[in-house]
Amino acid sequence: MATRVDPTFFKSLEKFGVKDWKDCYHCGNCTANCPLTEEDTLFPRKTIRQAQMGLKDKLISNTDLWMCYFCGDCTKTCPREANPCEIMRSIRRYQTSVYDWTGLSKKLYTSAAWEIAVIVGIGIIILALFGLFLPPSAELWSNPARFINAQGGVMINNLVDGISGSKFLYIIHYGDWVMALIAGGLLISNIFRMFYLTLWRDTSVRIPLTAYVTEFWRLVYHFLTQPKLRKCDDKSYWLGHITLMTGYTIMFILIVALLPVFQTEEIVPWYNWQRILGYYATFGILVFLIPVIVGRFRKRQCKLKHTHPTDWHFIIMLGLTALSGIAVHIFRLSGMPLETYFSYVIHLAILVPMILIEVPFTKWSHLAYRPFAIYIKALKRAAGRREEAPIPQFA
């Protein structure tokens, strides 16, 4: 069956950041230059083609997009300056919004006002919850010394009157669980939709059940080590990316799973594993952020030339999370209970909306979509069907 082209489709893509979608004239330099293409996974040219022609269904079921790690090598050699790496990224945003069944992702990506409103809204809810249920003890002002422990640090779990140390800790702990459940649940439901759109919807593909098991290792392996990214020209990019990813993941685990051992009353020595992990997470985030911020301002690297509003929101939220976290830590160590309380509340008012928005709906979802796309691709290969038509042979 022939697919009908849709010359108006680009309009829906343009909202996700694709600006130069018409410039590409399909010389294929980008594909030749991309270190990650494979015989049956030809991008970015082919993906750009599907977008240009408005082949929506093909584009939605295309998992190749996630094989691209946004290294920018392709953009350097494009003779038409079509910026293929940016097009790929924009289409990934589009796909993220398609995988999301709630429709919120599309709103967040296509309207900066929406995104800011949702972030601020959740932030205010967090502040309000603290104000209503966990208000600061009045003694924070009158008798701050009461909150200092033997080592001279702030007893962080005892800053609220009437709520003893472990009770406060567990309120936050369970609160984190609720947050993780909402974010994770939504993300998982979106992943199912991704499976449906890219794999199950096409009933002609029969995946052997055993493949789900035998190919599963790829998911874990690619998530943890990102071996594909290492193939890109700029090796420091891999290092930066993996530091960020591990830092972020560790932060997530510390907060959600290990809060009771992380947020302890006494201050453990610096070489203690909790503290080292905490430092590593902060370091990982900053190491990645600083060059990206500098790069986005300088606009010298081609892949950092175009900045979508959500890119700045991501950078700002992540940066503020790290900075407020550092502030809590410093205030705590220096025995400043009042400052500790407020920086702690602000830290959460930034962190919670960031996770709730970015994990299931926007930027951070790629943490899951990318390895899952690799997994799905492996399943398709296992089904003995090449997703792409054979490479045309020129006579």
Partner: protein, 578 residues
């Protein structure tokens, strides 16, 4: 016969020859051959000191023949002939042996190469013994010019020649001047208005006293040769005899008829139109379907009849940039239309065209590529649910998908073909045609406006598909060539022609049928063939076919060639008596 005194010069060509041929050995050995008075080797024979060497030797040693063994005669035969002339010798008393292209560049055994060089030089020495003095001849040029075809090429050439004060007869088959250029609206890639361009030119032609325009006129027959042609045309029912010295043929192009391509349903579906018909719409100022609606989807199909073994193998060169022009014009006229360009390869070549392509691709035009070898796009009438008039189905090459494209208007970029008159005019004027019936220039690189017939030039799209700038450039080049011959007043013609020995000719006329330049006529009275020395190119074809040996090609006589072969075979190098 006078004593034969030959000087032989073996060139090193720097190191080009000397590295593979022992030039000193060659010179030393040939010096011993009969009739050779002096043999030398020298670094660069073609240089001024090299030529001076020959000139002084001719004087000092009373030489009457010269052999230079060097590069190809194509490069330097004329140089050395001139040197002989300087020294007072007839330039045809000269022979060249090519020991560079034929020896040093193609061999890698120095000894063998030297041996081969020696035989070639010996052959040249043998041949030159039999060379005869030939006298240069020239013919006078009638300063009037005939231009056949009144398109932009013909008009341009006519104005150029008339402005130089010379008479022009501009013959046009149809009732008006202008050709295809006057059927267009704007020209790609710079969007000039043709009306403005062509109207002004036509007015100039009409008002120029040096140009006689003959409309509704054809050239049926032509006689004469370079400098002195005659023809008779009918004007207002009476015969008019025209005399002129040169001819420029500019009969232009014809548009391909796409109804032979079934896939496109031209002539069946009303809104499938050719590019030429679309130009008509643009000129009329409205782009609409046959029943007067504004099309929402416009598709342009490239390469219709071009680059396809079934129709024409060649690329028509104009249609890609024109198709881009149409996309821009449709976008300007119907801003909301969906525009599709279906192309096989984008070949918008020439000044400003790549830029036009870039600009067009930013105007929301969907470019779709098809592969001629995997089947052409197919147009069908759309169904009731399709929300358009036609559907075009094709295998899109860049995505690898089979796709459907909606269309309300389809423009077929038809191929440019040779004019249907081309074949007849080729016979009348003696110009050669290529397999596609375009006229062939004398040399595709070095002589792009002359033809193999002296005095006949070609310009414009009758020689190959050309756009207006190329046609105009070629027309001006042809005019310049014609003006050169006119201002010189006469031209030198080939002296190495054939001549008929009337005593031997049996009147069989075989030669007439083989001469590629129609240079031979039959003298009924004497019942013998006669060679027209102005038309003859000395190709020798008649000489080799004449059953009685009556034709002798000057400078290529049997004796000259047989002695040359003898020399090559190192046979007797004795001078034979005739």
């Amino acid at each position: 016969m006078e004593e034969v005194r030959i000087g032989v010069y073996v060139c090193w060509c720097g190191n080009n020859i000397a590295k593979m041929v022992d030039v000193q050995d060659v010179a030393m050995e040939v010096e011993t051959l009969p009739n050779v008075v002096i043999a030398r080797d020298y670094k660069y024979m073609c240089s001024d000191p090299g030529q001076d060497l020959i000139i002084s030797d001719i004087k000092k040693h009373r030489l009457n023949r010269v052999v230079v063994s060097a590069c190809s005669p194509r490069i330097h035969e004329l140089t050395f002939r001139k040197a002989l002339e300087h020294a007072g010798l007839n330039p045809y008393m000269f022979e060249m042996a090519n020991i560079r292209e034929h020896v040093s560049w193609v061999h890698n055994d120095r000894e063998e190469a030297t041996r081969k060089a020696k035989s070639l030089v010996a052959a040249a020495i043998n041949r030159v013994c039999w060379h005869e003095s030939l006298e240069k001849r020239s013919v006078e040029i009638n300063p009037a010019t005939l231009i056949i075809g009144g398109g932009i090429s013909g008009i341009t050439a006519a104005l150029e020649i008339a402005d130089a004060g010379k008479q022009v007869y501009l013959v046009e088959k149809s009732a008006q001047l202008g050709g295809f250029a006057s059927k267009m609206c704007l020209t790609s890639p710079f969007m000039y208005s043709t009306t403005q361009m062509i109207r002004a030119k036509i007015n100039k032609v009409m008002n120029n006293p040096n140009i006689q325009v003959l409309l509704n006129t054809q050239i049926e027959e032509l006689s004469g040769y370079l400098g002195n042609f005659t023809t008779t045309v009918s004007e207002d029912g009476r015969d008019l005899e025209l005399k002129f010295g040169n001819i420029i043929v500019t009969i232009g192009l014809k548009a391909f008829d796409p109804s032979v391509i079934e896939n496109y349903k031209y002539g069946i579906l009303p809104d499938v139109v050719t590019s030429l018909e679309f130009e008509g719409m643009l000129k009329a100022g409205k782009i609409e379907t046959r029943d007067g609606r504004i099309p929402r989807h416009v598709a342009v199909i490239h390469c219709v009849g071009s680059r396809n073994a079934t129709y024409h193998d060649y690329c028509s060169r104009l249609c890609c940039k024109n198709a881009l022009k149409y996309a821009n014009m449709v976008r300007a006229a119907i801003p909301g239309a969906n525009i599709f360009e279906m192309y096989a390869d984008m070949r918008a070549m020439g000044n400003g065209c790549e830029e036009l392509y870039s600009v067009t691709s930013k105007k929301n035009v969907m470019f779709l590529m098809f592969d001629q070898h995997n089947g052409l796009p197919e147009i069908r009438k759309a169904g009731p649910k399709d929300n358009c008039d036609m559907i075009i189905e094709l295998d899109e090459k860049l995505s690898g998908e089979r796709i459907e494209v909606p269309a309300d208007l389809v423009i077929l970029m038809v191929a440019i073909e040779a004019h249907e008159e081309a074949k007849r005019l080729a016979q009348v004027t003696g110009v050669s045609m290529c397999g596609n019936q375009f006229f062939i220039e004398r040399h595709p690189k070095l002589d792009p406006v002359a033809t193999t017939t002296d005095g006949v030039y070609v310009a414009g799209s009758c020689q190959a598909p050309k756009d207006i700038p190329d046609s105009v450039a070629q027309a001006r080049a042809a005019a310049a060539r014609v003006l050169c011959t006119i201002s010189k007043g006469n031209v030198e013609v080939e002296v190495t022609t054939a001549e008929v020995n009337e005593d031997r000719c049996c009147g069989c006329q075989t030669c007439i049928s083989v001469c590629p330049y129609t240079a031979i006529t039959f003298d009924e009275e004497k019942s013998v063939s006669v060679v027209n020395e102005v038309l003859c190119k000395g190709c020798g074809t008649c000489g080799s076919t004449c059953p009685t040996g009556a034709i002798r090609a000057q400078h290529f006589t049997d004796l000259q060639i047989l002695s040359q072969i003898d020399g090559l075979l190192e046979k007797s190098m004795e001078l034979k008596e005739v």
